[in-house]
């Protein structure tokens, strides 16, 4: 494995950190991580009680998400993975907007068409529509970056994916095209130890993941993914390089998925207990807390206040989401194309008719405003 960049030391100090996070930004990072944890927590509970169908644990990987997000501008482009709650939250996406997606309700920006955790936002940041097939968004990110460059913008595109994602076709074509085009793209590989039940050593025989950059003629960096400052610095440097026209970077963030793959998964079947325990000690939230503390930015009071705020925020988000109705039936038929073609209009009309007859037409159903 290429040498791993780690900045927050045992005592919480980070003498080697040269990135630009202000005290305020650091606190924002910390608060975002607590918010991720609260959001993650409540989703687990909602799923267990059957109020939502699915979620993916984010516990353990918040440091990477927030470290990366905090190194970029809100005008930059994000091509996230499903496990990147923190990237959206750091840049001000409302928990309620995300919660609407978890419920797949009428307020969901994806109109209830996608599974939970498949977010899509254009505001306040461009948070590209997540799809389930692994790796497809890598070349897409490279194409989006090409468009930015062609228009002369200095936008950077961040694309995030897992250790499993490195085996996908999109990894290969995305990094190869980015290398040839010298694209302003940051490839953030979140090596969280597992791809569902496949350990990251079973995914590839390469010596770590950052080294794969060599196959594409770009720098490859390994960073301690549980160290917000290290991730922030690595991403900030890559972004600088990208904005200077020096091309893409592959960053492997070494972190750990502390829960199951998803709410459908039982990790106790395959995750060694000792491994989980070892990583629990490296919790990224504790890690950043120690750093804040060492800078005099943290107190028990602050902690209590932040935890309470975050908890209230996500509870409010749940309330807001639960108040929303299901999407209107017309949403099954719209947005297939910009305008609804005749055959779909006919199919829609039959569906409305049937829903009316069955008496389960919800508000708005049957009026095809398109």
């Amino acid at each position: 494995m290429t040498e791993m960049m780690s900045l927050i030391t045992e005592d919480g100090s980070a003498p080697a950190y040269s990135g630009g996070l202000s005290d305020e930004a650091l606190l924002r990072c910390y608060r975002t991580m607590l918010l991720v944890r609260a959001f993650d927590d409540i989703c687990m509970k909602l799923q267990r009680s059957g109020r939502i169908g699915f979620s993916v644990p984010n516990k353990g990987v918040e440091g990477t998400q927030v470290g990366a997000a905090s190194a970029l501008r809100s005008t930059d482009l994000f091509f996230p993975s499903y496990r990147d709650f923190g990237m959206a939250l750091y840049h001000g996406v409302r928990p309620a907007a995300m919660m609407n997606n978890m419920f797949g309700n009428a307020g969901d920006s994806a109109k209830g068409r996608q599974m939970p955790v498949h977010f899509s936002f254009v505001d306040p940041i461009k948070y590209f529509s997540i799809s389930s097939p692994i790796g497809t968004h890598l070349p897409q990110a490279v194409g989006a970056a090409y468009a930015s460059t062609l228009r002369g913008e200095d936008t950077v595109t961040l694309v995030s994916f897992g250790d499993g994602g490195t085996s996908s076709l999109g990894f290969h074509s995305g990094l190869n095209f980015a290398g040839v085009w010298k694209s302003p793209v940051i490839f953030l590989c979140q090596n969280n130890g597992w791809a569902i039940s496949c350990p990251s050593e079973g995914q590839t025989a390469s010596d770590g993941y950052a080294i794969k950059a060599k196959a594409y003629g770009m720098p490859g960096i390994t960073v301690d993914g549980n160290d917000v400052l290290a991730v922030n610095q690595a991403v900030a440097e890559a972004a600088e390089r990208a904005r200077r026209g020096e091309g893409p970077t592959l960053i492997e963030a070494h972190t750990y998925r502390m829960g199951g793959h998803s709410t459908s998964d039982d990790p106790t079947k395959y995750v060694p207990k000792e491994e989980l325990e070892a990583w629990a000690a490296k919790d990224p939230v504790l890690r950043l807390r120690r750093h804040l503390d060492s800078r005099g930015l943290w107190s028990e009071d602050l902690e209590a206040r932040l935890v309470k705020e975050c908890s209230e925020e996500v509870t409010a988000a749940v309330r807001e989401a639960e108040a929303q109705p299901a999407p209107a039936l017309e949403t099954v038929f719209s947005d297939v194309y910009e305008s609804v073609p005749d055959h779909l209009r006919r199919q829609g009309e039959q569906a409305f008719d049937l829903a009316r007859r069955k008496g389960d037409a919800a508000a708005g159903d049957g009026a095809f405003p398109l």
């Binding site: 209830g112 068409r113 085996s167 996908s168 569902i196 496949c198 079947k269 299901a326 039936l329």
Partner: protein, 324 residues
């Protein structure tokens, strides 16, 4: 005889063949220690070792590409694609390679292999954990496409598929994995590919269906019977090569046909059934050949119950066809 779920029947088929034939092996994402995300391969690594049942890196192209090479070199690989929605990265390997290897090599190289994959909706899986892509494959000469709807058929057809000399795409209706149960003989038996199954006899309307739509059609047929309409329900089981004669016989028998599938309508598999009838049995038809299908949209999430054909939609079509 044991009463098994469809999922258990799949597991039993794999176990039966792996015991019998050392050249059979199972691999794919998470099929090893975890036993697959639906547990279809549970216990196989423990019984047969990690050389014969194992996890792979996250690459469907790699899974199916390597399976082709194994098959061409004497093994009988049974690989799993975790959800049918994720088979598309391997589309080239399936359509350009597995399906065409025997033909292009003049029969010198062949690819006797099975690709197992769960398909279909009903689990709130949204666009990418719900699709029914059979039509993409049924248009591919050289491939066989099999979809069981009962535990008995699942085991018998899967064993037949593993023994088949040609590549078989074996699509498992995930909505039925645990919801249907049935008697399944122990040990080895086969159900012939390219045969249909008469689910229910009837003289008024013929319904063609397969996979997860079979129980839906059965229910609709039962409801129709209450109104005095006798429905003949045919489970196609093998879509390619289709038993066209059996389809035409069943269609001619009633002169009234409804075709049902979950997949979108346009260019779906149902179109081929309609076309066969329009070409070879149109003189017998006393009513339009209706299709009850998923809509021509991506698969939605929250509203999937509106998207998927249900008993009500099938019954509507049966009634309209019977009374035409």
């Amino acid at each position: 005889m044991a009463t098994l779920t469809l999922l258990q029947a799949v597991n039993d088929a794999l176990r039966t063949k792996m015991r019998q034939d050392d050249s059979v092996l199972v691999f794919g994402e998470d099929v090893g220690p975890k036993g697959g995300v639906f547990l279809a391969t549970e216990g196989l690594t423990a019984e047969f070792g990690a050389k014969r049942c194992f996890d792979t890196p996250l690459s469907e192209d790699g899974i199916i590409g390597t399976a082709i090479g194994m098959a061409a070199n004497g093994l009988r690989p049974v690989c799993e694609i975790q959800f049918q929605d994720f088979i598309f990265p391997a589309f080239d390997q399936i359509v350009s390679e597995a399906a065409k290897l025997r033909y292009r090599s003049g029969g010198q190289y062949t690819a006797p292999m099975v690709i197992r994959t769960p398909y279909g909706g009903g689990i709130r899986g949204g666009l990418y954990h719900s699709q029914s892509g059979e039509a993409y494959f049924a248009h591919t000469a050289g491939l066989k496409v099999v979809i069981p709807s009962t535990p008995y058929d699942a085991k018998g057809l899967l064993i037949a598929a593993i023994e088949d000399p040609d590549p078989v795409l074996f699509m498992e209706p995930k909505a039925l994995y645990r919801s249907v149960k049935g008697e399944v003989p122990e040990g080895h038996y086969t159900v012939d590919l390219s045969t249909t199954r008469t689910v229910r006899e009837g003289k008024d309307v013929t319904v063609f269906c397969y996979g997860a739509m079979v129980p839906v059609c059965e229910k609709a047929a039962a409801a129709a019977a209450e109104q005095g309409v006798e429905t003949h329900v045919v489970d196609l089981r093998t879509l390619l090569p289709l038993d066209e004669e059996a389809v035409l016989d069943a269609a001619r028998r009633t002169g009234r046909v409804v075709v049902v599938h979950e997949a979108p309508r346009f260019c779906g598999f149902g179109a081929e059934i309609s076309a066969l009838i329009a070409e070879h049995a149109i003189e017998y038809m006393e009513a339009p050949v209706r299709r009850v299908t998923g809509f021509d949209t991506p698969f939605p999430n929250t509203l999937e119950h509106h998207y998927m054909p249900d008993e009500r939609r099938v019954l509507d079509a049966i009634e309209a066809t019977a009374s035409f």
